[in-house]
Subunit: 428 residues, 4 copies
């Protein structure tokens, strides 16, 4: 993306006039920007034409804030599938509000957007520092989650009724679209409620964000499944270990897990199409050569091969055919037809991956993510998510974050290194 | 079992006349027995009637051995499904033969009994101490495995051709029956080849043996799956986490894993029948009460409920209906019919459990198991397995080990403690 | 021990007349015994002479109990050093009292015996099922601990004042002696207070007990330290990795950890004396041969070599010289004097081992240990500990448990297998 | 650093004229730069004055290369202390040379720079793809390591004698200075030998590099030590858990480990001075308030407090006083003098951290680091290290990498967040 017409402006509820209670800190100026481009070849055009290059607003504590901490009430909601680090983020927001600003009241809405809709009758939890202090040791979310949208008006009614000043929404693409709609309705009603998103995508596929929480943990946890696949494959004649990993739109988990576990012989991802014939031929060749093979398939790989894939579920996410089960059956059939023995073991570790606690890397990352979400909310930003760009935390307008998915470019380094590791054919 | 008519005599190839090369060791006398009964109430009858109580031959190094170590060649074969510790046992046999007796030639037959049959064309590996020294760090079996029997005559031909004096067979029920048949054919031909079994049952369901290798590791590794099930269940309204664990005939893994992970609400095992209605009613009650529930099902539980369960596979093992998939579908249907929301996540961690390396407990156990197998073989025992009884290693005739499966007694402590932990109804 | 004059009788507070509220359980009869001897050679003498062999009382629920559950109050105290599983045992006692018998009030005395002495001013915690439900996920003890004795009269005063009927003391040798003194004072005063010990020895060195909780976890956790020692040793010319493991009186942790981690070249334990010269000569030879070496030393090994070892600390435990630091310095000096390069890394992982949560094996074991302690107390037993013998839970008089330490017999199998694994000289 | 006069030019051996054998890859142009500045406030000055901003050469495969792969021989050497990922980097270089360029001969020099000096008589290993394929599963370095410099002339003689075209040196500050001297002598002799450094600093303290391999693993592995410290501290009255972590010059490990493990009450790092009195007063206050405390100290913290700190060792690294032992003794003394009980446990996990295998994050990072080192060498770059800047791999002149250490800025975000997590006073 050239960035020529990129509008990275983040919405504000109004002017920040209240002095921050934080002391001894280096505050971030509102004009500090994190450059969108980090390569000279992209930046040069701006330099040559004397135009200001596109940049993200830098996240961090501001000297003047929008909300009066002594009167502020906040809310947190977690939506969609589980992801390592959810509890870390909840905890960081609660402790950040308390330690940095002295904000005392934080509502934890139960079971996703359901908890904001009076129709479901959930009572919010009151999130105190004591309550959240140890929750990051466990996976999942103490708030519970659900999929799918709720009535926007209903939810804003709840925020008004509870006098919530900042709503933190932790969720993926659908959730962020919901957050955007909430911010629009809030603006429409002329309310001063900030909506700050913390992007949750275990697949790391949200655009304008380098890294999302839970992804590192997912890659780490995938190791056990790939190890099992390799061990089973090597333990039998013509053994094949097939592992399905998460990644509906983008194959980052499958690709990075392949770099980590070079015993993988084939990595299949949504971004790189293949024909069943091409894949099966390459697989048979590898099994003939090595005696066994390990295949890792991202959830969204080869969807076009599966009959009846493509509908939408309650959250509006596209329903996927099960590439794991599909390949399992087709591989067995193919070997059988070729008169070859095959010992295929299929492993689907998804629930065992996404329900784990954050690993130390993600744990530190979630802490900072939550802190920066707090700073952004206190400074009156809204309809934005906290991003991470070139190792800096940033403010990203939700409209941009949901405008497109982030994908692996098959011509770029990551995929080329995957090919080097697996030795699989570039085209199958 | 009263033990009244228990014949624990182990077959011998002949008299042991060769002095053991082991020095500085306490040898075990041939008349040392490990009492079958350890409770006074069982032993009293024998005391009262002045009869000698039943006892296992104690395993361990003998002062006189049957084989001349300088001329001996041995073979090892691993059969059936993967189990943590296979490589530990292979390693212990090779190193035990070498370090204790100076035996140099050990063949590793490839891919189970296939490797003993000339029809499959596998060449045996030569297992040197250097080759096996580090193999216990990895799961699986470096020899490879396969299921199902091979022609007994063919296999004995191979042993004769390679001048194998002791064959170590590592496998489960079917494998041990095969070993027994080998020993019979060997006896029939008048050969002096010992067949020593190392009982492999991750389910811990071989009779006359307290503990089998891999079981502890399996229980440990099940923790992650149950944790995931709990986290997923608690993360959604009416969440249900369903985990299928190994245990076709006996529910030891499911039961002990339940003691270890008290978040389990229902433990279903083959030994304790239940009706689908009874289970579903109890499950709905628990979900209504707690908001979510965790169910652990041993592979062989409730087989009578599943249409079309009961055939036999290549190894002669009974083919099982998939209780996990069956319950998953029936639970969802039942909640739907009751007009209740349900968020069920099904986890089948079997391949991720059985392919792991042995944990430290099993690692030490496998080392000693392999050493004792070596001592038994050198002493000319045959058609036996190495057992463990009341914390002593023992010699157990194969005919006894395969005579019946070991089961959980629903009236006994283990199951009562499981019920105490889960709070599930005794009868469902 | 021949067992000729072994008195395994356990003290009782009085006759059990109250029907147990447990239902559907197989109760254990008071006359059911677990035979002390499990080998025929030991048992034969009793059979020949028609004498009743020695046996432990079998642990488990009784049909009639001594205490009225509806009126009973209990107490728990944890003493001495941390050990994996302490929280599991606390939890099992509280839940066992509640679930099996409906006992509601359980006091948790703080910081060991200090919590029973009014002089220290600690208020006991009230241990509810909710409070303890998740504590086994963490190492340490939620009650806190301390070393050393307190005034016996003071402590019994506290028990009387709080109307405690059963005191569960979780601790080692010194703690159990304290428990015995408490039981004596209680008897002296004519009170009906049961004192039930749960033997805590990470070193597994309490007599008349096969296995103690935390030991398996300790052996498992030692793996990382030995791995580090091996990696550091192999990473440098003349590298030596030296690891000190727990085991003041007995070397079980060091010995079993050596079986688990065969990269160990030398295992030093209290039971097997060595000279510094002999050890250093063997070490130099091994380093010359392999390029590096790994040494594991139990805490109590070679104490006679260390100047100034032998005093007693506050708990009456003997103070030990630090064999790790001693060997570190002497090895370096010895190589230097021999003109040899040496790269020695010393690792003392003790605190990192003993503070870990119980592993799954110990977790299940602690659950059953706690349950059996509850059954014993409810049945009016006193001045006893819950033991484990030949895989059965037993009642063991404290006087026996503290009468001697359990040691490794250098002539027996365990040590011989250690020598086989390390290849170290039998005599150094 | 303003970057005004930063010279980021990387030395080249000559013009690259040979077409790369890599196909299907996007090559990196020699003029592609990764901008040194990523913040607008730093970049603005360059934009305003129309000057070209400083930028690193971007790492990656070039379309034209300098060395003829068919004739090239390479060498690898690992120096200094162990660091997780060393074997991953060795493996990645060997496999990268083979898979991307078809280079067949790679010498592994033994035991650091010693292996390059004929005086030590080490024979290099020949590193084949088969030999290195699995080495990343283990910690340490298969090549061995040593500290300290060797004669530069001797080493260049060895490179000449073996016809080495590219030498890859994996090591820290001292090693890189050595690599720079090698490159100078090579230039002086007019040879065409590239010297490519892979910066190894578990402390993450090399300048001009965002992230160094092993650091993430170190932070992860520190978790167990801090957990033990917390558990021990909470288990006793006035318990204090004291952990020393690596970090001689810079406190990144201690600081990030504190973010990950918020049970830390005090984090002490080299960059933030404190007085003993100030620290002890704050510690006593925290213990009085919470009952216990956890202290994490980076190796280089408070060196000025320790008598006799400051000499230099064989590698020219400054010798440090042991802050852990120093604080342990002073804290005990201080509490004693104040008449307060104290139960302090001191944990030094350094060897158990640095000898571990790389975690999945570092494993993938090391793979790419090694690949990019190969591309740089093949393209004829020399006297440089492979860096990572704003998530891109870069070429960094050694002279810059060793010009200064990277430090934590006490006024910046990382330290402010540490203070928020611990609640320790900003000034002690």
């Amino acid at each position: 993306m050239s960035g020529e017409d990129l509008d990275l402006t983040v919405a504000r509820l109004g002017e920040s006039r209240i002095p921050s209670p934080m002391s001894g800190t280096s505050f971030v100026g509102d004009d500090e920007g994190v450059l969108y481009h980090s390569h000279w070849m992209e930046m040069q055009a701006f330099a040559d034409s004397n135009r200001r290059p596109p940049m993200f607003e830098m996240a961090g504590p501001r000297e003047k804030i929008f909300f009066d901490p002594s009167k502020l009430k906040c809310g947190i909601v977690t939506c969609g599938g589980l992801c390592p680090g959810l509890n870390d983020v909840i905890r960081a927001i609660v402790l950040g509000l308390q330690h940095h600003y002295g904000v005392k009241t934080v509502f934890g809405f139960r079971y996703g957007y359901e908890g904001l809709s009076p129709r479901h009758g959930h009572t919010p939890l009151e999130l105190t520092p004591e309550l959240v202090d140890d929750i990051h040791h466990e996976g999942g979310t103490i708030l519970g989650s659900s999929r799918g949208p709720q009535d926007i008006g209903d939810m804003v009614d709840t925020l008004e009724r509870l006098h919530v000043g900042i709503l933190f929404t932790i969720g993926g693409d659908g959730t962020l679209r919901g957050a955007q709609a909430l911010a629009q309705e809030i603006a429409h009603r002329g309310l001063k409620i900030a909506v700050i998103g913390i992007p949750k995508t275990i697949d790391n596929d949200i655009s304008f964000i380098d890294w999302s929480f839970g992804f590192e943990t997912a890659v780490s946890e995938a190791k056990a499944a790939i190890y099992a696949a390799k061990t089973e494959a090597a333990g039998y004649r013509h053994g094949i270990g097939l592992v399905k990993l998460m990644g509906r739109e983008s194959g980052f988990i499958a690709a990075v897990a392949t770099l980590v576990n070079p015993e993988v012989d084939f990595c299949l991802i949504p971004e790189v199409p293949f024909t069943l014939e091409g894949f099966l031929a390459a697989l048979k060749a590898r099994v003939a050569e090595k005696g066994h093979a390990v295949v890792v398939a991202g959830e969204g790989a080869g969807q076009y091969l599966i009959p009846g894939s493509g509908e939408r579920d309650a959250s509006g996410n596209i329903r996927f055919g099960d590439i794991g089960v599909f390949l399992r059956d087709r591989i067995r059939e193919d070997f059988r037809q070729a008169g070859l023995e095959v010992n295929l073991k299929y492993i689907d570790p998804s629930y065992m991956i996404r329900s784990m606690p954050a690993n130390p890397h993600d744990s530190a990352f979630c802490l900072l993510l939550g802190y920066h979400a707090v700073h952004a909310g206190m400074a009156g930003r809204t309809s934005m998510v906290v991003g991470n760009w070139k190792r800096d935390f940033t403010h990203v307008p939700i409209r941009l974050a949901v405008s497109q998915r982030k994908h692996i470019d098959p011509a770029d380094k990551l995929w080329n290194n995957v090919l080097a590791v697996t030795g699989q054919p570039r085209d199958m």
